[in-house]
Every structure is written in C-alpha cells, then in structure tokens.
C-alpha cells in the first residue's frame, strides 16, 4: 500500500471567532436581509446568582430549625407615599406580560395562582383584561409608552401602578407584536387594525426625562387620590443613576430588570448585547438607595433570570425587597415542555416545535404566536392547550417551591424573616461575581475593586 492510499482525515479546526454559530448568523443575514426577532431572554453565559453561595450558620451563627421555626416572608411594597401599600404573603411576584403576547387563559392562570399564594400579578402592553382583574387579588397595572388600552377606570381598579421606562431584554427599545398575534380582540384593545405588525413606542408620549416623570407620577397620585403605590420599572444599564432618578421622580417602588429578563419579541442583537446582568444591577440599585438613605423607604424589586428559591434568597440578601419572575413562570406553565395536557390526556407537542424549526428545551419562538403548548399564542385552537385550572396548579406549585427553598436558606442563615438576609451571608465563586455583587471571593476577604487580596 503506497502512502497515497491512506484515508484522508477530515480536519475540523473550528475558528473561535467564526464558529458555526457565527457562520450561521452571517448566512442567515445574507439570505434574508433581516435581523432575527425572538422571544425569551439572553442565552449567553453571564455572571449570575449561581456564582454566589450562602454562608450557612455554624458555630459563629445560630441556625433556625428548618421546618418548624417561624420564618416570615411577608412583604410590603409602596410604603413611601401610598396610603394603601401592597401587602404580599411572599416576596415573589409575577412580572408584567401582556395579553397579546400571552393568551387570555394564561393571564387568568397567572392571576389565580398568584392569588392563591398571596402575591401580585402584573398587566402588560395592551391593557388590563377582565380575566386577569377578576382572577387577581393584587394586580399591578403597567403604564407603558404605547399606552395601548390605557384607561383611567383600570387605573382606579388596579392595586398599584407601574410606570415602565424600560425592560431588561431591551433597555432603550420598544416592542413589536407581529401580526399573527394581533387577533381581533388584541387589535380592539390596542385600537389597531387586526393582523398588522404592531410597534410599541420606546418613549412615553407625554413626558421626557426625570423631572417630567415626577409630574407624571404626581398625576397618577392625584388621579388615585394618593392611594396606590407607584412603581417605576427600568431595564438595567446605568442602574445606579437610573434608580436615583426614579427615587427623585417620586417612586414608591423601583423595579430593576436585568439583561436575562425575557421578552415576547425583540431583536436578538438587543437581547444579547444591550443591558447589564441582573447580578451587577442589584448591587448598583441597592447602592443608589443607600446613597439616598432610601433603603427600606423605597422598595426594590429585582427581575431578570430569577429561576429558583436560591436565586430569590440571593437577590433578597443583596438588598432586594422582592423579585419578579416572567420566564420561570411560563416554564412552570409548560413552556418548552414536550407535551401538553388537554381533555384528560397528555399530547405530544414535538411536531409543533419541529414545525417552528426547534425542539422542546430550545424554543424561543414566542413571537410567532404558534406556541405548541398554548402559552404565547392568540390562536383559538392552540390556546386551548393550556387551561387556567391546570396552569394555575402548576404555577402555584412552582411558587410554593421557591418560597420553601427561600425560607429553608433563610433559616439556615439564622433568619426569622427572609428580609433579614444580608450581603454578609454571601460569598462569590468567581472573580466576576465577587466584583459585581461586591461580596468576597469564597475563602478570602477579597472583594475586587474594594479590598486588597
């Protein structure tokens, strides 16, 4: 056998800069001339709460017995100016998601589950639906730049108002609800023709800047005779300054949404490349409140990639008063699950995912309105794949689990109240997390940027 008869090996030296993902991206761009729009949040690996761990009690701290000793989770939001603050049983709330992006069944399921566990749910772009008002004991009403369906009667029957400045998935950007989700009902609520691609503005129509916002918030207070808490929600970017300005504008509660926060439809370049991670944002937000001596007077809600009880506990330990969850809630309802439950039986949904060019576990096609498990859809047949009863049961279980995990950790740290968790209870596993969260690297006293090693 001569040398030339040896089978040739296939060389597969992948380029780091031009890996297969990048090559796919360039080929797609070249084929379509369009940027990609998708749902959900940032998929890239980011420093997050997993990079922190708790220092449980030992000899230097005294723990509480894990199951029986009292550990309060009661959470009060809006104590600064509102005469009727929001009182919640748990510090875990449901993030604002619109009817339009979600089906009416899903909105009802969110309300039912939230009410059962004693927390709040939030409207979204497109206004308040009867289903969610009726099913939610505590409903936060968003005032968004688009003002779709915004109505003083709904302001009056809301339990709190959230002025939305931005969103973690797209700080500085407006929304886009593609035509396939603009059903006749959605269109009527938004005063638009059915089936058109509906753009949501990125700026409010009647105010610009924090001094104007102060007057706008004052308008909401006058309108509601100073009863209802006013939240201000910002996407995490220049969080230290933005939180200060929100406080200056008169917010009772500031909501900070990090870049892992989800969306129903946003440009991928936006989702992955604009905004800062939630971990970094919490620290800056708490710094801002402390700098203004407003910690405990203005409450902080943190959102963006909060998935588990430990995530909640870490956000609270860093100084948040509550968290807000969107994507985790949808996943609890069945998002990305391989089947759906209808008429007493499980049905395989993988063909539905395949038709979208994806598979269970990878789906981010909320923008198409063709959700195979009936969550992010306005399709009359698809939406029947999730009934409010079943959705509410799963979501209630998820929220209960998170709360049990939260109290388990708090007790282990010796706290009778989850709001007593503190930064001193945390250390970081990576340099990045130590620097962002400003807690020491585990096993050291070193906080990069603060103390010498």
């Amino acid at each position: 056998m001569s040398r030339n008869d040896h089978p040739k090996t296939i060389a597969k030296e992948e380029s780091f800069g031009y890996d297969r993902k990048t090559i796919d991206y360039i080929r797609n761009a070249a084929s379509h001339g369009l940027y990609e729009i998708r749902g959900m949040g940032a998929k890239r690996k980011l420093p997050n709460f997993d990079d922190l761990v708790f220092l449980g009690a030992s000899l230097s701290r005294y723990p509480l017995e894990g199951y029986r000793e009292k550990c309060s989770t009661k959470t009060v939001l809006g104590t600064r100016f509102a005469t009727k603050p929001v009182e919640l049983e748990i510090p875990i709330t449901i993030a604002g998601m619109s009817f339009g992006s979600l089906s009416a069944n899903v909105k009802e399921a969110l309300g039912r589950a939230a009410t059962e566990v004693g927390t709040s749910t939030t409207t979204g772009d497109g206004g308040m639906t009867e289903e969610e008002r009726q099913s939610s004991k505590t409903l936060v009403y968003q005032c968004l730049p688009s003002r779709y369906g915004f109505n003083p009667d709904d302001v009056r029957r809301a339990d709190a108002i959230e002025m939305v400045i931005g969103q973690g998935a797209k700080p500085g950007g407006g929304g886009m609800l593609l035509g396939q989700k603009v059903s006749p009902r959605v269109a009527a609520m938004r005063t638009l023709p059915a089936g058109i691609d509906q753009r949501s503005a990125c700026r409010h129509p009647d105010w610009t800047g924090p001094d104007d916002l102060a007057i706008k918030i004052h308008e909401m207070r006058e309108l509601t005779d100073w009863e209802k808490p006013i939240y201000v929600k910002v996407g995490a970017t220049r969080t230290f300054n933005d939180v200060k300005l929100a406080v200056h504008s008169g917010a009772d509660v500031v909501v900070v949404d990090g870049m892992q926060g989800g969306t129903a439809a946003t440009q991928t370049c936006f989702i992955e490349h604009v905004g800062i991670p939630t971990l970094a944002a919490v620290r800056q937000a708490v710094d801002a409140l402390e700098d203004l001596d407003m910690k405990g007077k203005v409450q902080l809600i943190v959102s963006g990639g909060i998935r588990t009880g430990p995530d909640v506990a870490k956000a609270l330990a860093m100084g948040a008063d509550a968290v807000s969850i969107g994507q985790g809630v949808l996943i609890a309802l069945g998002c990305n699950h391989d089947s759906y439950y209808q008429n007493g039986a499980h049905h395989d949904a993988t063909a539905g995912y395949a038709a979208l060019g994806t598979a269970p576990g990878y789906c981010h096609h909320c923008h198409t309105g063709k959700c195979p498990v009936g969550i992010t859809t306005q399709d009359a047949l698809l939406e029947q794949r999730l009934t409010p009863e079943i959705g509410a049961r799963h979501l209630k279980n998820y929220l209960k689990t998170l709360n049990m995990e939260l109290t388990t950790i708090a007790r282990a740290c010796g706290k009778q109240n989850v709001h007593h968790l503190e930064p001193e209870d945390l250390v970081a596993l990576t340099l990045e997390a130590a620097a962002m969260a400003r807690v020491p690297l585990a096993g050291t006293n070193w906080i990069p940027g603060v103390s010498g090693f």
Binding site: R147, F150, P152, R199, P205, D206, K216, H218, E222, L223
Partner: protein
C-alpha cells in the same frame, strides 16, 4: 350646591382633585371654578362625571388628563400633556398648549384656540383635536385612530408612522413623517371638518383643508421596506 369655587392660592390641589373625584359626582355639583392656578400641574385630572371645570389662569402639565365625561375650560394656556389619555368629554384651552397636547387620547374633544407645541396628538387612539393655530413637529406621531383639524401650519414629520388617524391641515406642512401622505378630500371629509370646526366654535372654509392619512406601507415589517423607522 351647584357651583363651587377653589382658590389654588389658598387650597392645596389635592383637595380640589379629591373633591372632583369623590364629592362632585355624589353631591350634584355641576360647576367648579378654579382660580389662581398659577401653572399648577395636574389640575382636574381623572374626572369621572359630567362636571364643568373652569380654570381661570394658566395650567401646568396634564390639565384635564384622563378626563371621562367632564368638561374642562382653561381661560389661559396649558402646559405639557393637556387632556392626555382623555376618554370622553371636552377640554378647551382658550390660549396656547405646550407639548404632547391630547397625547394618547381615546375619545372626547380637545380644542386649542391658539398654537400647540411639539407632538400634538401623539399616539392618538380616538377622539378629536381641533387646533385654531399651528402645531409643532412630530404631531400625530404614531396616531392610531381619531381625527385632528389643524387650522394653521404643521411642523416637521407630521403624522410619522401614522396608523388609522386622519389629519386635516389648512396651512403649510413643513414635512410629512414616514408613511404619511396627502390624500384627496372627499365629501365625507368636508362634512367631518365642518362638524369639528362647528363643535370647536371656529370659522374656516372646509374646502381650504388637506387630508393626511397613512400610506400603510409600514403595517407589515419586511426586508424591502425602509428600515430607518
């Protein structure tokens, strides 16, 4: 108690608004007069009954905001966002109006005798706006439904990203925004303009007005469209 007066130099605004929300509907008050507003913000926001409010002097931001069935007359000028998000009823500014007049209105009639600033009728969702003078740039930006009659001139980018709202302009239009176009006036348009001018108490010949509406080319997002929006 048919008529009540509040002197804002003496009484806090909060008291006036609370009275308008809680007492006006239940005590049969038909008319409320506000004096010495001195540019106060948020006068008569959130009216929810057919009360008539007269403001004697200049109002600050959001006067008559989110009005439902009430009537607000400002004998002076109004700041930013007058009658913003009005649902029904009537707001009449006898002087000039600042930016964002009638922003996101869903219904009712807003009349401005003088000029209006930037973004008049932005995000309009219904109802009617009649401006006796001119309007600033970006007026009717993303206006979705409803009608605007502008008796003077319009600034830059009139009707940018317009949806189904229709604008009637008598004077010059400095420039049209993306997707806005001038269309021929029909008999129905002349009737509309005549009726709206009549409701506003203004005298102009409807035949002097141009119609501006959406070309609807931005309704569906596509690769060939101008992606600058």
């Amino acid at each position: 108690m048919e008529r009540m007066s509040f002197d804002l130099a003496q009484v806090p605004l909060r008291e006036v608004n609370t009275f308008l929300h809680k007492d006006a509907p239940t005590k049969g008050v038909r008319q409320v007069v506000v004096t010495n507003p001195d540019g106060a913000h948020n006068i008569a926001v959130g009216l929810d009954c057919p009360v008539e409010v007269e403001v004697h002097g200049h109002a600050g931001y959001y006067a008559g905001g989110m009005n439902k069935t009430g009537t607000v007359t400002i004998f002076g000028s109004a700041g930013t966002g007058v009658a913003e998000n009005m649902m029904s009823g009537r707001v009449h500014v006898k002087g000039f109006a600042s930016n964002g007049a009638g922003a996101s209105m869903h219904g009712g009639l807003l009349v401005i005798d003088g000029d209006a600033g930037l973004r008049c009728g932005i995000s309009l969702k219904g109802g009617d706006i009649v401006v006796g003078g001119s309007v600033g740039s970006f007026s009717a930006f993303m206006a979705q439904a409803g009608r605007m009659v502008i008796c003077g001139d319009a600034g830059d980018a009139l009707g940018d990203s317009l949806y189904e709202a229709v604008l009637y302009v008598k004077g010059n239009i400095k420039s049209l925004g993306a997707d806005a176009q001038i269309e021929p006036m029909t008999e129905a348009d002349y009737t509309t303009v005549r009726e709206l001018l009549g409701a506003a108490g203004m005298k102009h010949d409807p035949h002097g007005f141009k119609r501006v509406a959406s070309a609807r080319s931005l309704y569906h997002w596509n690769a060939d469209a101008d992606q600058e929006y």
